[in-house]
């Protein structure tokens, strides 16, 4: 399985990522997911979320998740993930995930699993930045 992992303080380059997808004659399913910062938290408006990452451990834990995906869904052809850290304004994506596979069942299931597990084991935290 092709893997790509990026933790970045810069805005996620959605156009570049879409353009850089490795085309394959066997990939019948390309699932992409965007996690976007909402404009409110617990009913209160917010300006942004400030993400903190324990980067070496986050990278290690992501790689372990990718390894498990390869075992659990051997048909997966590619998994690419970009997560931002630092301040991400409301309305902007903080997470981008792309999973490709021959068929949609594995691609959907693996993408859902990856995001669920990320929220359980990858050391990234967020704090709300209130509106001025």
């Amino acid at each position: 399985m092709h893997r790509h992992l990026e933790l970045t303080a810069a805005p996620i380059p959605l156009g570049d990522l879409a353009a850089s997808r490795v085309e394959s004659s066997t990939s019948g399913a390309v699932i992409t997911f965007l996690g976007v910062v909402r404009g409110s938290e617990a009913g209160q408006p917010i300006a942004a979320l400030d993400y903190e990452a324990f980067e070496p451990m986050a990278r290690h834990q992501f790689e372990k998740l990718f390894q498990t995906m390869e075992t659990r869904w051997p048909s997966l052809e590619s998994t690419r993930l970009v997560h931002r850290y630092g301040i991400v304004p409301a309305g902007q994506p903080s997470l981008w995930v792309e999973v490709t596979a021959p068929h949609r069942g594995d691609a959907f299931a693996a993408c859902q699993w990856l995001i669920d597990e990320m929220k359980r084991v990858v050391p990234i935290w967020k704090r709300t930045v209130p509106t001025p």
């Binding site: 996690g35 993400y51 451990m57 986050a58 929220k119 084991v121 050391p123 935290w125 704090r127």
Partner: protein
């Protein structure tokens, strides 16, 4: 022979300890549980969060009975919130 370990605090745990990291000296054979005991004595507010505290040594999660070694880096943090 005593060992020295570095302790790092993440997310709002830093607010409770007022520092991003500290060091402590422990007896040979000390475990993650011994570090937690020491930290909770020094920072009682962190003890209040003990049930939700996650512990890593280096870049791996470790249980309370994990034995530490000289120079280990122990990270303490609240539940993760990526995405």
């Amino acid at each position: 022979m005593p060992i020295r370990v570095r302790i790092r605090y993440w997310s709002w745990f830093k607010d409770l300890t007022h520092t991003p990291e500290s060091e402590c000296t422990l007896p040979d054979g000390a475990t993650v549980a011994d570090v937690l005991h020491r930290v909770h004595q020094e920072h009682p507010r962190l003890a209040e969060a003990r049930k939700s505290t996650l512990v890593a040594v280096g870049v791996e999660y470790q249980p309370p009975d994990h034995i530490l070694h000289e120079g280990d880096e122990v990270s303490l943090f609240p539940p993760v919130q990526g995405g």
